[in-house]
Symmetry: C2
Subunit: 335 residues, 2 copies
DNA sequence: ATGAAAGCGCTAACAT
DNA sequence: ATGTTAGCGCTTTCAT
């Protein structure tokens, strides 16, 4: 029941506690034979140093808090994985805290984490909208991932939505498309606006603009179906559609199919998020822009470790998006 | 930079450390005036007791480890939320550990957590398949959620898949359907077999059996499309289909629509998982069996807290599934 | 009613 | 080369 302590090891090996500690940590001057004996005893007894005691002494806990407002949803999970990836190997453990978007819960979490003497905090959000900054108390660095603090230049890592819009446009132009529509989510989402901006800028370089205009709406399949129907009615010549999410793209695909338009033969389709269950299940499977959220998490964790080590960063870093090509945009029979 | 300690509070309040401690914890016999003064000073200085020191003394850390093999996927996330929900309010913090299904990683995590003196462990898995037990060391209770330890009677909490199959069948029978097919995932999945069993048992009570037999396959939309096409060809009279997942149901819906069968008019559809983006995006929105995974997490956390408090549980608990009714199974014009 | 002292498990500086 | 001591921040006897 009781865990074995360094006392037990020292006693069993016939040395003092201090000597045992040195032996196990490779410190000081000891006879090789002593080191070995202590190590062997520790091994045999299954000794593992109490991290709590080490932390108390070291003045730091080798833990970080991960706060998300997203109910660990589709966006923050890959970010978490990346964070954990970058920290886990470095012996830093992660406290997970889901605020459920409740400021009061968030406050309590931050307090608890501060009392646990976390070495730092990562704050992760749903999309890249700015949010009120988190104040964790003196000496506790904070890094934002997939969100940004409003009114501060706090270190943040977000996907490069604008670049994502650009690669989508370049890809479609490359495939010979010229009448390219854009159906996306609500205009109030910064991400939606940035994707549209990148997309538009690239088309402009080719002397084009969004075919039928940028159509803002919702992040749903239903909106994709509706908007595609209207676009086809108003601009029957459309030969490609860039969608602001894979869900929207699914809806668009349904409408195209119902209207007898071949994908990608008549109309090429590019989605956003590369949400595999959605993108792979579509007919045909969707080409999609991947935000590399794990990488966002890894970069954020890296910044946090640097800050903990005394090298704080400032400003917002953008992680490039990556295009994943599937059948929905392959040069088709007529394309 | 340096956090304020109880020393600072005691000095500022003009009392000894011991007195300050008692005042803050409501222990011992102190003058009310003293208590108030200490509390006031603590408040003013922003004092928060160092949890590490408390833990070292108390011999327990008020933390638990949450180990998942699922890369925090679709199934373990709701479980996590439930766990966090049940523990977070009780001042127990959660270490999150994703093994990525790598036994070596898992071993390292368990070691780290033991060294951090977690009070207990929750092991969460992808589906309910039995898995090798986790040995966390003496005195560290383990509870399994959404998975079970092979060869042990270890405390586990899983969804009641069989019950889920039953409610789906009852619902369809209630709606007047009699020729009900079943398209589901791979037979090697225990969950798939149990759902089929519950479904079959309920049909049997009505003197029926799975129309066209139980069709095991994959957990994909593509399989849903394929299997539905075959089922329609072999059993054109089918008036309902119970699907082992919402993804499969989406595929089935696509095939039905392409074949000109109205949903739910000609064929009613019930999915499984109640995965909202999938179920709501379908045409029409899917009736689906919800496994109440948050509840699974909450129950598991409750069992763990009980075990920590010295009341260990054994055996497997099954959390009932809940049917969420949407248009795909509403009594239609002809149904 | 309050203070002094011991100790949780460990490391590091200082003796020997 | 090894042992002794102090102390991380806190709680809890035990004196006073």
């Amino acid at each position: 029941m009781r865990r074995v302590t360094i006392r037990d090891v020292a006693a069993e090996a016939g040395v003092s506690i201090g000597t045992a500690s040195k032996a196990l940590n490779g410190q000081g001057k000891l006879r090789a034979e002593t080191r070995e004996r202590v190590a062997e005893v520790a091994e045999r007894l299954g000794f593992a140093p109490n991290t709590l005691a080490q932390a108390l002494l070291a003045g730091r806990s080798f833990t970080v808090g991960l706060i998300t407002t997203d109910s660990f949803g589709r966006f923050s999970i890959p970010v978490m994985l990346g964070v954990e990836d970058a920290l886990g190997t470095g012996q830093v453990s992660v406290f997970m805290c889901d605020t459920r978007d409740d400021p009061e819960r968030e406050r309590r979490y931050v307090e608890t984490l501060a009392a646990r003497r976390v070495d730092g905090l990562i704050v992760s959000g749903r999309r890249i909208e700015p949010r009120p900054p988190v104040v964790a108390g003196p000496g506790i660095p904070v890094v934002y991932a997939m969100t940004q603090p409003v009114g501060e230049d706090g270190p943040a890592v977000v996907p490069d939505d604008e670049g994502g819009g650009r690669v989508a446009a370049e890809h479609l132009l490359h495939g010979g498309r010229r009448r390219i529509g854009h159906i996306t989510g609500p205009e109030r989402f910064l991400g939606a606006r940035m994707r549209a901006a990148g997309f538009g800028a690239t088309l402009a370089q080719a002397g084009l603009r969004a075919h039928g205009g940028v159509r803002f709406g919702e992040w749903s399949e239903r909106w994709g179906r509706e908007a595609a129907a209207r676009l086809l009615a108003e601009e029957p010549g459309t030969d490609a559609i860039f969608c602001g999410s894979d869900q929207i793209a699914r809806g668009v695909a349904d409408t195209l199919r119902a209207a007898g338009r071949a994908i990608p033969g008549d109309v090429a389709l590019v989605g956003f998020d590369n949400w595999e269950p959605m993108a792979l299940g579509a007919q045909p499977p969707l080409t999609s822009v991947d935000m590399c959220l794990e990488e966002v998490g890894r970069v954020a964790a890296g910044l946090l470790l640097a800050a903990i080590a005394g090298e704080p960063a400032r400003g917002t870093r953008r992680v490039p998006c990556r295009l994943v090509t599937r059948q929905s945009s392959r040069p088709g029979p007529t394309g």
